[in-house]
Amino acid sequence: MGLALLLIIWLITFFSTYFFAAKTWWLPHGVSTAAPWIDHQFALTYVLMGVVFVAAQGALGWLVWKYRDRPGAAPVRYSHGNTTLEMLWTTLTAVLFIGLNLMGSHVWASERFEPAHAGSVPVEVTGMQFAWYFRYPGADGKYGRTDPKLMDPSAGNEAAVGLDPSDAASKDDVVTGTMYLPVNREVDLTLRAVDVIHSFFVPSFRFKQDAVPGLAIHMHFTPTEIGEYEIACAELCGLGHYKMHGMVHVVSQEDFDKWLAAREAEKQ
């Protein structure tokens, strides 16, 4: 049984590690300025935890085989432990875990503690059962007033978020069901939800943030590659959670301007 246990534990360790190391299933290709930092921290954590994982499972398998009870086995070494060893591994794990933690913290801070830079693209994201809407404030740079009483999800776009046409600032607001962003420009994101909590998750941007009713959450990030990326809702929001899906089109600045102008014209 000792040998069987050794084989089972080592094989489990091998296969588990193999699929991590081979990156058979891995984070999607990252396309934001934060992605390389997050991926670096992920890889670092992965290597350190991987070493501990293989060492601990390897030791467990080896110990149960080596010290199995059998005729002629060495007598048990009576011991209640070793205080020096206890202190040693307590200190080592404390340094490892706390150190890891501090190393990744600047990425977190840069996206959250500081507001977006001047000249960033303002976009407001609104989550509702079960759709995402994206609002661009237009030439005036100001979001117009919205009114809960005017919200009409079945009409979609401007009406869905309850845009109040009587407010002058809302005249040039554009609301769409697909997100367009210019490449390599910072996005000044405002996140809202109208009914329950949703979560705006774009795996390729390494971006996720809950949209919470009653809160306007500000975040910023910068997409770095032209392409189409999927948005998935990452907070259970009801029966349509699995299909609360959206697309982000990251395009060149010219294409973005053209698209926005076309949407403005369409609205008039």
Partner: protein
Amino acid sequence: MATTAPVHAHAAPQGFIRRYVFSLDHKVIGLQYYFLALIAVFVGMFLSLLMRAHLIWPMAILPLIGEIKPETYLQLVTMHGTIMVFFVLTTAPQSGFGNYFLPIQIGAPDMAFPVLNMLSFWTTFVAFVVMLAAFFVTGGAPLHGWTGYAPLSALTNSGPGEQLGADLWVTSIAIFCVASLMGALNFITTTLDMRAKGMTMFRMPLTVWAWFITAILGLLAFGVLLSAGILLLLDRNLGTSFYVPLVVVNGQVMGHKGGSPLLWQHLFWFFGHPEVYIAILPSMGVASQLLSTFARKPIFGYRAMVYAIMAIGFLGFMVWGHHMFMSGMSPYSAFAFSIMTMAIGVPSAIKTFNWLGTLLHARIRFHTPMLFAIGFVSLFVSGGLSGPFLAQPVLDIPLHDTAYVPGHFHLIMGVASIFGIFGATYYWFPKMFGRMMNEPLGKIHFVITLIGTYCIFMPMHYLGMAGQPRRYSQLTEVAYLHHLIPLNTFMTYAAFITVAAQLIFVINLFWSMFKGPKASDNPWEATTLEWTTATPPPHDNFGGHTPIVNHGPYEYSVPGAARDYIMQTDPAAVPSH
């Protein structure tokens, strides 16, 4: 007062009802909890199989069940999680085995408050019935997940099952909280007040330490959940706005104003994180007990183990915010919660090192309980090491609310904890039923369960890294999830095989109860007090006398001793340490 009888003394009951139904005997109550958990775990597993089937065959019409709709899937998610967390992981290791063995292991004739003990079991039973009732009311069970995030859980028109089903769900949890509070008080009082002569705190088995600390966690955590649940009921039924701000559901402006969805999350996780340790600590205690017994060696670093349990319990109350990095909570507080979470890895690592240290230079006997204890260590390592990823806010960005999270907590708080329950069952079965369980069946059960659970839950980490969100009923709507369906299919097959293997356990359990070979009083040659008394123990546990304790709990292979174990009651000397 001429004579003062001990307050706990009560005569052995005669009638069937007082003996087996409304019993005051902690041993019967322990078994009642255990069998309640056994029923609950089969309900919970069955629900999970339906979920796994739906994920890969979304259009299938299942025999007897019919079609599983997206909302049905979420109802299964909710009920699977709730039943498993409350009625299995909290009920079996703590209330079940704790009730049966805590008094015996400290040399007490019963729990401190036998009537309260009976009441706490029957209250738990009522909670379970109310929970199951949610399936059968109009609209069915709620779909808001076991975490019940408001406003989804606080509105009655946010989805199917959010009407009466959700009320029953909250009510059941509130009743369960009351039961757990009663149980916790009983455990704490019993441990502090009713230890036999010589049973100092630092001579208590690590199982007793684990049950004791778990009871303190329960006392502090369940009260908070109870209040949170009552507020949720008020929001749902009386139009208050604790958790709900102004919201518009499908174009309809609801009457709420000014509430905070984050308040629910703070209260829920203030309970929810200690709950993780409520589920796992008793199994850690069992693993320590079993590893020492079957390695024939004292546990490595007994005091370090006790301090580690205390540290885990203490830190467990300061980390709830790590569930909320993406919630809109202040990003500054994320650092505090993150550091505390990483700190909790330290006592966890100490425990792992000490378990490995116990095996060094040992002579390991591979009885079935020991296999599950070894499996526990392996699972604890695997489930634990994914923690430092999730504990870093910056890595939580891609991983939060993906399949990575259920992968992590199923390995550590689900499967590892259940391995503790299995280990405890195989270990204490002879004492509880007077017969041995079948070893070959136990070994087969172990091997399939260990490999099977790894095949189900390790791939969840891969799915999470690839961005598969939790609680998606179908993977067909989001294009980047399509390539993950084959891996999901593999996991579903693994789940069916693993669940089928649990029938081996059930057959072994019931067959051995009636047909197993008779057990001696101390079949494992173990040292703690339950092995000094008759099998099964008499009504007052020690047959009219109180044991006197001379040593710590794990005196194995003492040099110069006649046998390779010295029981706690044995007057023989042991080396000082």
